[in-house]
Subunit: 192 residues, 2 copies
Amino acid sequence: MRRSPLIDHLKTCVTLSEEELSEILVFFDSQTYKKKETLLPEGKLCDKLFFVEKGCLQLYFIDSLGNQKTTQFAMENWWLTDFLAFQKQTPSNFYVETVEKSKVLSISFSKHQELLGKHPKMEKYFRTIYETAYGAALMRIKFINSLSKEEMFCMFRDSFPEFVQRVPQYLLASFLGLTPEYLSEIKKKQLS
Amino acid sequence: MRRSPLIDHLKTCVTLSEEELSEILVFFDSQTYKKKETLLPEGKLCDKLFFVEKGCLQLYFIDSLGNQKTTQFAMENWWLTDFLAFQKQTPSNFYVETVEKSKVLSISFSKHQELLGKHPKMEKYFRTIYETAYGAALMRIKFINSLSKEEMFCMFRDSFPEFVQRVPQYLLASFLGLTPEYLSEIKKKQLS
């Protein structure tokens, strides 16, 4: 069987035989991308769901001033797309781009539907993934509405230390709603 | 069979026999609450998932200055809880409270697990619910990071007109991250 980190990730949530795992993997395409490659552009039909085997993706949009704003990152074992547009098969409201060289699995909407139909255990897997992601998004909105920018950075650094090391600082600043200069000031202050 | 709006909502997503629907409903408790009743307090084990049959709930927290901040509302056919705490069976990071007199179904974590085990079609239902909710939360974070407070209000009013009519203005202001005075100013400006 082709090896993929997805197999281990599936096993953390659902019990699947080796045969089932093999069958499931067939639904996915695997591709390696360079840093800063666009996997899905804004405005194009959102027909792909991505799983990061290695590397890092970001979900971003361009604001009215032309600034790139990061809404979500996805590192190893994370899923990413414009989930609403994927579900409704409408144009994407975001870009999906690699932050670093990445190995990514992708699945189209029709293949995803077929996968769920043939392997209903995958419903449990995705239910768990989305339940966690939605719960975390509500916590993030709570933090946005209660923490200062400095507190946001500290909480994020303490929760995801590897992440803060790996992601370029201008993207981290964009994700936290800061200017890169202000993030740099906060980091200096934290060190002193 | 006991009638519940949940039945119609389930039918929009999954095909279930009348017998299955009856069996599923048995897992839930139904209760009517007065306006401003607390269904789940912050800090208490989050052991309930709520479905609004009639009325409106809010998910809120108290910030460091003692202000009540609304993170999410749920009207008819919406599910609400601290989803992360429910999944992990940890203390809730939010309060769940009625905004108006409400009729609510609730299910405990163990009953929910039992329901999913006995009726795997419910995995598909909840996968769809959480997929939509997570996608919508990412869109909301995009709006928070790109729209002015006035644009946020207009977009929200145009997307959910009934909601803006029904929810008290101080709660709507809290949800949109505004002071009630500023929301009142925006509304006056929009009318003129």
